[in-house]
């Protein structure tokens, strides 16, 4: 006669002990039965807390990467360009001023290109502020020369500034340095702030896991005792407990990172017309999205390590 128990399903069984490498990932999503009771009623709310933490971590990581990327971009961008501003002067016609400056620039090594902006270009730059009508032809406008310099062999900027100033009255070299260093500093501060938030979130998650592990162990003290008495090592108990936190961390991480990525996409839609604060227009550049996928794995790792160490520490004092 066939055994009715075996026919039904493969129950009764513990978790699948023979796990292939492919099964390992699936095992992170599907929690299998543990010898240690799951945290029970606290399981769902704990998962929500971990998910919320991972959501915050995702936002912080995304912001840090995005702002950091922007800061580097600006550093490269601005240090590759200079501007010569030529104020109108009674002593020289604007075109002569430009010719004189261009003459100096042509003789200077390390300059890739120098492009004087035409009067129309300059007027177009001012139009948003002054309006098109006001810019009558006789209104004296400062003229600009956009210069691209060789990044690897830049010209001597202070010497160049003096030469430009000497070449034509009213001409001055703007290296954008002050502007650049201020905005890059601001961006760097924002970047480090985001990393600090990330560290704080990670520390909070560790504290939550430690607390939950201790509470779980003390609630299941009799189970732990029985396991010890039938010969279980601390390691066995730790493995059973940490498996629960592996799932908790990973699932919470997936939910949190998913919500975080969605938030960045929404932010991108909301700010699609331009840069929204320091975050780039797309919310977060697509190149950073894979980095966000690290969050669930990091959350699982943090949860597992915190739980494991807590179990060892607690058991040592328990029995």
């Amino acid at each position: 006669m066939a055994d009715p128990l075996r026919g039904k399903d493969k129950a009764p069984t513990f978790h699948d002990e023979e796990r292939g490498p492919a099964g390992a990932l699936a095992a992170m999503l599907v929690e299998t039965k543990s010898v240690m009771p799951a945290a029970g009623a606290t399981g769902m709310s704990l998962m929500l807390v971990v998910a919320a933490m991972c959501f915050l971590a995702t936002l912080a990581l995304g912001a840090a990467l995005s702002v950091g990327g922007k800061a580097r971009e600006w550093t490269n961008d601005l240090s590759g360009s200079l501007t010569v501003e030529i104020k109108p002067s009674r002593e020289m016609e604007p075109e002569e001023q430009i010719d004189a400056v261009m003459g100096v620039l042509a003789e200077t090594s390390g300059i890739v290109s120098a492009t004087p902006l035409s009067r129309d270009d300059t007027a177009a730059l001012l139009e948003p502020w002054l309006g098109g009508e006001v810019l009558a032809d006789d209104l004296p406008l400062p003229r600009l020369v956009d210069i691209r310099i060789e990044g690897s062999a830049p010209p001597d900027l202070s010497a160049l500034a003096m030469e430009v100033a000497a070449a034509a009255p009213g001409a001055s070299l703007d290296t954008h340095r002050q502007w650049q260093s201020e905005i890059v500093n601001a961006a760097r501060s924002a970047e480090w702030l985001a990393y600090a938030v990330l560290a704080l979130v990670a520390a909070t998650t560790v504290a939550i896991v430690v607390f939950a592990t201790r509470a779980g162990l003390s609630a299941n003290r009799d189970v732990v005792e029985v396991l010890h008495l039938i010969g279980a090592r601390d390691n066995f108990i730790a493995s059973e407990v940490q498996r629960h936190f592996l799932h908790l961390g990973f699932r919470g991480g997936v939910i949190g990172a998913g919500l975080g990525a969605a938030a960045f996409l929404l932010l991108g839609l909301a700010g699609a017309t331009g840069d929204l604060y320091l975050v780039s227009a797309s919310g977060i550049g697509p190149e950073y999205l894979p980095a966000l996928a690290v969050i669930p794995f990091a959350a699982a790792l943090v949860a597992v390590l915190a739980a494991r160490l807590t179990v060892f520490q607690t058991l040592e004092s328990m029995l």
């Binding site: 128990l5 129950a11 009764p12 513990f14 010898v35 009771p37 009799d222 396991l227 010969g231 279980a232």
Partner: protein, 219 residues
Amino acid sequence: MIRFENVGMRYGMGPEVLRDVSFHLAPASFHFLTGPSGAGKTSLLKLMFLANRPSRGLITMFGQDIATLPRKELPPLRRRIGVVFQEFRLLGHLTTYENVALPLKIQGKREAEYRADVEELLAWVGLGDRMNATPPTLSGGEKQRAAIARAVVAQPEVLLADEPTGNVDPEMGQRLLRLFVELNRLGTSVLIATHDRALVESTGAPELVLRDGRLTIRG
């Protein structure tokens, strides 16, 4: 195998519940432990299955002085001892099958290796159709049999049982006793704490009698 020399034990600062207890359990021996309630039977068993440490005296198990044994050396010793707890202490969230298989799982064995053995043992103690039930749904007698199955499943060198027939009818009591005797024949030392005179008299095995914390040996 298990040797007690002048062992005394107290809980905290309380009075001694065991006094100058000395005895020796030889390999493959069979003993009963009797005595009135509160005489210290459970305390003595707790010392034997390494749940407590003595306040004084020397306990040697499998040739090792347990007083000097570091914590991490205890699990291998405990694995050589099967225990039937008075209150069973089955894990409520696991099925009967999982409870019984637990000692083997803890030893790192794979389910494929032990599954058939565990099922056979469960059938033998009359729990073949209760394998998927969890302990809270089992009757007192069923829990007791599950606890006994868990204690013997890993074929321990020593079996300690605290009132193992307390919740079953005499017929099942005799059946379980036969299981203990069978195990003993295969080389396991058995010690059964019981109030059941009929059980003690049916085997004629020697008796450790505890009275007011002192131990005498009869038979």
